[in-house]
Structure formats: structure tokens, C-alpha cells
């Protein structure tokens, strides 16, 4: 693929539902061959944006192209280059996993034997061959997701939309979906991923657009975004309540961070400064605490949460 090729370019996309502005002027430029993350809370307009780009909804204003093809003027050209895995598994629950994939293979134009072969191969590759003959309504959330993604790559698309592919999944299924996404991108497909989880966007995406109330409020690499917010936090739970004040002093001294006392009488949180190396600050803090004779029961390093990103970003807008 050509360097610098743009998979999706959206300018001023707007979509209203009755009097709610679901999407209120979204601009995007998604470089080809990468994972692009669209990060935002429920109701931010992520799904509506994706549905417009996938030609499922017509924008009320603005325009967008997918690999140079206008979504409004030439939807058929767009459709032949994209696949969508929606937020709710886009599968027929009454049919088996195998039948779903055969049906879609037929609809992509494979003949009967080729469709059956393709369906079987995909089920094998996604670890679903044991469930091939079961109705999809009996599948777990993780299995549905994988079948849904399998359906989206019956024909390798140039652009794959994944709308919240891991929402509601247990950690292991989430890891499997991430594996799949990395493999697909490594083979040259562009992925536009929406998510509520900063961690997910951070791990997978080359660039992230943060979207809130229908607008892009920040855009950049994960590193750029995080450094604009802060490096995260160190969370502690102590063994004894009466050591908490002491621990606060030690932490403030050790890493020069602001320390907050939680409502839980044995818990406290140190907020790291932008640019801090979370891991080394964490281990340093842990060493100092044990030297001071403070018994730590639980210790964790937290990335800035989506809440913190939003707070920081919306504060930035107001300031």
C-alpha cells in the first residue's frame, strides 16, 4: 500500500435524530494500513459515525470518502471495500455458526462448495469448529464476537469497522479479539475501531480520536493523548489504617506526587505527573514504603481512566 494513503476522510459529518445531534461535525483522517481508534463514552456518537461511514446511514451534512469513494455518491463502491462488525452481533441467531458463514459466503459470490470450505476454514481459524453445528443463540459473548469478525473477513476487506468489539467480554475473550485484530492489520487491512476503553485504544491503535457529544475533542497518537492527561496513578491498600498518614508522607516524598486519601480508610492514590514513567515510579514508591515499615496489602498501577481523559480534555476546552 502506498505510504500516506488515506483510508477514510470525513469532513464535518452531522447526523440528527429528531432534535438530538448524535454526530455534530466529525472530521477524521484515517491512515491506511493501521488501527485507528475512536474513543468515547456511550452516546458520544461513535456508532452513528461508523454507520454513516459504512453507508448504513446517510449523513445530514458533511461528506466522507472511503479509499477515495464518496459514501453518498458511490455507496456500492464503498460497500465492496468495507466490512462491519456491529455493536450487536450481526448474525442470524437461529442459524448455526457454520450456516451463518455459508450464507454470507454465498452472498459474497462464492459457489456452494467454496462457501462450505471457506466457512469451515474460518471456524477452524477462530477456534469455533466445535460450535460449528450449534445455533448462534447458544454462543457465549466471546464466541459471537469471533464469529462476527470471521464473517467480516470472508472476503478480506480493505477497511474493517469494528464497533466496540470487546464491550462486555471477559478478559480472555478480549485478548483473543485483540489477537485477531493485530493479525488482520498485519495483513494490510485498515481497522477503524470504536471503544470505551482507553487501554484498548492504547494497545491497538496507531492513532486515536476522542469523541464526545458528537464532536472530536482530541486526536493524536496514544502517547500524545496520555501525556496531555497525566501518566496515571498508583493505588495502594494498606494493612493498618493508622499507617495511612505515614504512607501519604512517604509517597509524596518518594515520587513528588499529589496523594489522595480514598473513602476506604486503608486506601490511597498517588497521581503521577505527565511525563512520569509509571512503572519505575511505582517500584520506587514500593521500595520506599517497605523501607519505612509500612505494610502494603495491595498495590496497582493505573493508566489514566477514560473519565480522567475526558475531565482533562473538557477542562482544557473550558480553560
Amino acid at each position: 500500500m502506498a505510504q500516506g494513503e488515506v483510508a477514510v476522510r470525513a469532513e464535518g459529518l452531522v447526523k440528527h435524530f429528531k432534535d438530538v445531534k448524535a454526530v455534530d461535525g466529525v472530521d477524521l483522517a484515517v491512515p491506511a494500513g493501521t488501527v485507528y481508534g475512536v474513543l468515547g463514552p456511550n452516546g458520544a456518537g461513535k456508532t452513528t459515525t461508523v454507520r454513516m461511514l459504512a453507508t448504513l446511514l446517510r449523513p445530514d451534512a458533511g461528506s466522507a470518502t472511503v479509499f477515495g469513494h464518496d459514501i453518498a455518491a458511490d455507496p456500492a463502491a464503498v460497500r465492496s471495500r468495507v466490512s462491519l462488525t456491529g455493536q450487536y452481533a450481526s448474525l442470524d441467531e437461529d442459524l448455526t455458526g457454520f450456516e451463518n458463514l455459508v450464507l454470507l459466503s454465498r452472498l459474497y459470490g462464492y459457489d456452494k462448495p467454496a462457501s462450505r470450505g471457506r466457512a469451515g476454514d474460518l471456524l477452524d481459524a477462530f477456534g469455533l469448529s466445535d460450535a460449528a453445528g450449534k445455533q448462534v443463540k447458544g454462543y457465549s459473548g466471546g464466541m459471537r464476537r469471533r464469529l462476527d469478525i470471521a464473517a467480516s473477513i470472508i472476503i478480506t476487506p480493505k477497511l474493517l469497522f469494528l464497533d466496540e468489539p470487546t464491550t462486555g467480554l471477559d478478559p480472555r475473550s478480549r485478548g483473543q479479539v485483540w489477537d485477531v485484530i493485530r493479525t488482520i492489520v498485519a495483513e494490510g487491512t485498515t481497522v477503524l475501531l470504536t471503544t470505551q476503553y482507553l487501554e484498548e485504544a492504547d494497545r491497538l491503535a496507531a492513532r486515536i480520536a476522542v469523541i464526545d457529544t458528537g464532536k472530536v475533542i482530541a486526536e493524536g497518537t496514544p502517547g500524545e493523548l496520555k501525556s496531555s492527561v497525566g501518566a496515571g496513578s498508583i493505588k495502594l491498600r494498606l494493612h493498618h489504617t493508622d499507617q495511612r498518614e505515614h504512607a501519604r508522607g512517604v509517597l509524596a516524598e518518594a515520587i513528588g506526587a499529589e496523594v489522595e486519601l480514598d473513602e476506604d480508610p486503608v486506601a490511597l492514590t498517588a497521581l503521577l505527573r505527565p511525563g512520569d514513567d509509571t512503572a519505575s515510579q511505582g517500584s520506587h514508591a514500593l521500595g520506599e514504603l517497605s523501607r519505612a515499615g509500612i505494610l502494603v496489602e495491595d498495590f496497582s498501577l493505573g493508566q489514566p481512566s477514560l473519565d480522567e481523559v475526558f475531565l482533562a480534555l473538557t477542562d482544557g476546552v473550558k480553560a
Binding site: R51, A54, T55, L56, R58, R79, S80, V82, S83, L84, G86, Y88, S90, L91, D92, E93, D94, L95, T96, E99, L103, L104, R106, L107, Y108, G109, Y110, D111, R118, D121, L122, D124, A125, F126, G127, L128, S129, D130, A131, G138, Y139, S140, G141, G142, M143, R146, A151, I153, I155, T156, D170, S173, Q176, D179, V180, T183, I184, A186, E187, T189
Partner: protein, 285 residues
């Protein structure tokens, strides 16, 4: 106690992990098949609907039992009162009640279309590069199969009850064919409503409020000549009355070619008007 047998359905079943190498191989297959023809796409959706019947056979119950119930109830409850005897009444009633019960079951098409939208599966269909009406035509193809099955069962029951068609096998087959053509065409009304309605319950209540007056204000059960004068022109000109006249004529061996022609014209009108409204609603959704 066999704990292993009570494992819940879920990730605990530990499906095999994703196989990255195989996945890579599948992605590398570059050859893209040619998009299917409109007919092939519709046939694939028809196959889907047949699979749904296979997996959820309960849905055939109301489609097959409802007509038999209607036939038995109307013949034996009202036959005496309306025609002075059940035998004569059955001769009059059977073609009409067949039309009524099968036309009534057409509304399931709209509910199926609506459920597809609610469940999100139609989102996937709509991002496929296929003929846009294919999912609906596929539904209708499978539905025509169901109507044919319902028609056969009703006819069989009628024969057992003593119905004898003067039109012979040819007349009966042509009559049923006319009914199926009309149902296929009429169902485009439901695909449209299925697309624009908010939920399957809405589809149901809209369908009922159209179907009940439409099928009862007809010559299915009684001769319109017995109705008040102001009502007769209305009843005589509904598409259902025309269809019943056409089917009854073919069954009885006294073909009413005017009614057959009118029915075909109504069918064409339904396809043109509601077919285009359906495709428009589908594109807009």
C-alpha cells in the same frame, strides 16, 4: 453427581484459541469472487429462511394450524346459520377461507424483517454488495413455500370434510397459484411496514388493523348481496373479494376471468407501490 454435565454454555467451555497462522493464510486469499446475481442472492436468502423453519419448526404451527381451525370453526359453527347446512356451506366457504387464512399469515413476513433490524443482522446484509431487495425477496420465496403448505393442508382437510371442487385438479392448482401470486405481491406491504415500524409489536398491531377489516369486509364468509346497499360497492371492490372470486371460480370450474385479471392488476400494483417503498425505506434506514 456428574459435575461435568452441568457446565454452563459459555467461555468456560474453552473453545480452542484463535489460530493466528491459519487466520493469516485465510486473509491472504486474494481472489475475490464475482458478486452474486440478484437471483442468486435472493435464493441464498430463501435458503436462510428455510433453515430458520428447520431450526425453529414451531413457527410452522400457527401457519398450519390456524387455517385448519378457521376452516373447522366457520364450517361447523356458522354453516347451519348461514347456508342452512354445513355441506353446502363448505362448498362456498373453502376457497374463501383459504384466501383469508393465508393472506392473514402473510403478516409474519413483516415481523421477520423487523426482527432482523432489531437484532442487527440486517446491518450486515446492508453492507454487502448485493441486490438491495434480495433479503426481502428471499423471505417471500420461503413464505410462498409456507403458503403452499398451508393451502395443501387446508385443501386436504376440506376434502376429508366433504369438499369437492368442480374445477378439477387443474382448476385447484390454478386457483392456488393465483392465491400465491397475490400473497407474494401483497407481502411487500408488510416488508415496508416491517422496515419502518419501531418494533415487532407495532408491526403486529398495524398488520392486524389492516387485515381484519380487509379480510372480513369481503365475500369470504357471506355473499355481499346480503349486506346493506351502501356497503356492497365497497366490499365488491376490495382486492380480497376480487381474489376470492377468482379462486372460487377456478375451484368451481366457473372461471371469472374479470376477477382473475383484476387480482393480477392489484398484485402488480402492490409490487410496484410497496416494492419501491420497501427498497426506499431499506436504503434510508
Amino acid at each position: 453427581m456428574a459435575f461435568t454435565e452441568t457446565k454452563p454454555q459459555g467461555d468456560q467451555e474453552a473453545p480452542a484459541p484463535v489460530e493466528r497462522e491459519r487466520l493469516r493464510g485465510l486473509l491472504a486469499v486474494g481472489e475475490r469472487p464475482q458478486a452474486p446475481s440478484a437471483f442468486a442472492a435472493a435464493r441464498a436468502f430463501g435458503w436462510r429462511a428455510m433453515l430458520k423453519i428447520k431450526h425453529v419448526p414451531e413457527q410452522m404451527f400457527d401457519i398450519l394450524l390456524f387455517p385448519i381451525m378457521m376452516l373447522l370453526m366457520f364450517t361447523y359453527l356458522f354453516g347451519g346459520a348461514i347456508a342452512g347446512g354445513t355441506g353446502d356451506y363448505l362448498q362456498y366457504l373453502l376457497p374463501g377461507i383459504m384466501v383469508m387464512s393465508i393472506v392473514m399469515t402473510t403478516m409474519y413476513t413483516g415481523m421477520g424483517v423487523n426482527i432482523d433490524i432489531q437484532k442487527g443482522v440486517s446491518d450486515r446484509f446492508r453492507t454487502l454488495p448485493i441486490w438491495r431487495a434480495a433479503p426481502m425477496v428471499g423471505y417471500l420465496l420461503a413464505d410462498v413455500f409456507r403458503y403452499a403448505a398451508a393451502g395443501a393442508i387446508m385443501f386436504g382437510t376440506g376434502m376429508v370434510m366433504g369438499y369437492r371442487p368442480a374445477g378439477g385438479p387443474d382448476g385447484v392448482l390454478l386457483g392456488v397459484a393465483l392465491l400465491l401470486v397475490f400473497c407474494f405481491a401483497f407481502s411487500w406491504l408488510w416488508t415496508w411496514i416491517g422496515l419502518i415500524a419501531r418494533s415487532e409489536k407495532t408491526v403486529m398491531s398495524i398488520s392486524m388493523s389492516i387485515l381484519f377489516p380487509l379480510t372480513f369486509l369481503s365475500n369470504v364468509m357471506v355473499d355481499p348481496a346480503t349486506m346493506p346497499g351502501w356497503l356492497q360497492p365497497v366490499v365488491n371492490n376490495t382486492p380480497i373479494t376480487q381474489l376470492v372470486d377468482g379462486v372460487r371460480g377456478l375451484f368451481d370450474g366457473a372461471v371469472d376471468s374479470g376477477a382473475v385479471l383484476t387480482t393480477l392488476l392489484w398484485s402488480a400494483a402492490f409490487v410496484i407501490v410497496f416494492g419501491s417503498l420497501t427498497v426506499r425505506a431499506y436504503n434510508r434506514h
